[in-house]
Subunit: 228 residues, 2 copies
């Protein structure tokens, strides 16, 4: 699930313009062809190959939303589909869609006029969906949430507060400043840090690669405990 | 000039995923090629041809921004480059980037915590750049602004107010509800409506095509009057 126009898997490194620049037009009237320039093939081919495997294998489903309300209903519907998978379902909730919002019944009908001076915006808290999600929608699933902070002193304590409150399995905590090379895995009784080495960074490995393989390990353990 | 991640010329109809779906991978090891599928060539070829003409002829320059502050400085710099063109310069200011903003010195340093309850946001008015732009930066240029409203009764009067206040040449006024097929051209002493016919809509003509050709006519007249 992703907000419309946010970065998407596979294509996240390419803007529309970058795509156009990769293409070569071979104008031959009705036999016109368009090919990717040889030097771009090296970059695009492995990504396209992975995309095709995911698409053709039915391994990825894109669900987009625009408003926070859409997100609520789609998330619940997605959970209903995943619930029968029991402990084999993993929910990777990479970020709160929004902490605050304006309910649709408080939205003005007409455009806000700027000549009336600037408006004061009274936001409301977005309901924390993690509570019904863990307790009601997918009670057997392995649920992972994220906690992004800008203040390092709050990081682990806020992550653990979330685990106590929502009773899910894992919080991946990171700091805005260092999120691309360091995260902390926080469970109810443990916490450990994962960071990219200089060599890993130089060879193009991203922190997400390490996060995902660690999450898979934790989830495999969890399924195993659940079965025996 | 465009805000990063907003729709861009030529590629606006294609998401990253649509691009990937158009491509065919011909995996032959070191001789791997990627081609656009024949049925997508029909759609993409004319767009790509126009893109190449614009790029290779140096007829388009993409300047992106993120914050309203970036926009201010880049717009002024762009005006400085255009000022020597005199009346041949046309500025097509398709929308206010934002009516309201939070100045950077009032931004919180740390992430706003949701457990303190929802914040009240005191916005400030974005300075109206049209005033210095018309009077100081490009005083000889043909400046066009837009006026989007949701209330039809305000449309022409608000457009004319803007012309009187900023002393530029043309306001293109539209309503949120009907903007894809109807606009009103408002000058200081005239106003007329342009709308797409059903046939034009069915044949894929967009309102922007009609707007642009009308703007070009107005601008050509303006250059002519300026020279004789």
């Amino acid at each position: 699930m992703f907000r419309l126009k946010s970065l998407e898997p596979f294509t996240r490194h390419f803007s529309g313009q970058k795509f156009m620049d990769m293409l070569e037009l071979n104008d031959r009237g009705p036999n016109t062809t368009i090919t990717v320039k040889p030097d771009s093939v090296d970059i695009l081919a492995p990504i396209l190959a992975r995309y095709k495997v995911a698409q053709e294998g039915g391994r990825i489903l894109y669900i987009n939303f625009t408003t926070v309300q859409d997100y609520f209903w789609l998330l619940r519907a997605a959970c209903e589909c995943l619930a029968p998978c029991g402990s084999k379902a993993l929910l990777y909730l990479a970020a709160a869609v929004s902490d605050f919002y304006i309910p649709s019944n408080e939205m003005p009908t007409h455009k806000i006029q700027s000549d009336g001076g600037p408006p004061i915006i009274n936001l409301q808290l977005v309901p924390k969906l993690l509570a019904p999600l863990v307790n009601l929608w997918v009670p057997q699933a392995y649920v992972v949430s994220f906690k992004l902070e800008t203040d390092e002193n709050l990081l682990v304590s806020k992550a653990r507060d979330a685990l106590k409150k929502y009773k899910h399995k894992l919080v991946i905590a990171n700091l805005l400043q260092t999120r691309r090379h360091k995260v902390t895995f926080v469970t109810i009784d443990d916490s450990f840090e994962i960071s990219l080495t200089r060599d890993q960074t130089l060879s193009g490995i991203e922190i997400e690669d390490i996060i995902v393989s660690n999450v898979v390990l934790h989830h495999t353990d969890f399924i195993h405990c659940d079965q025996y």
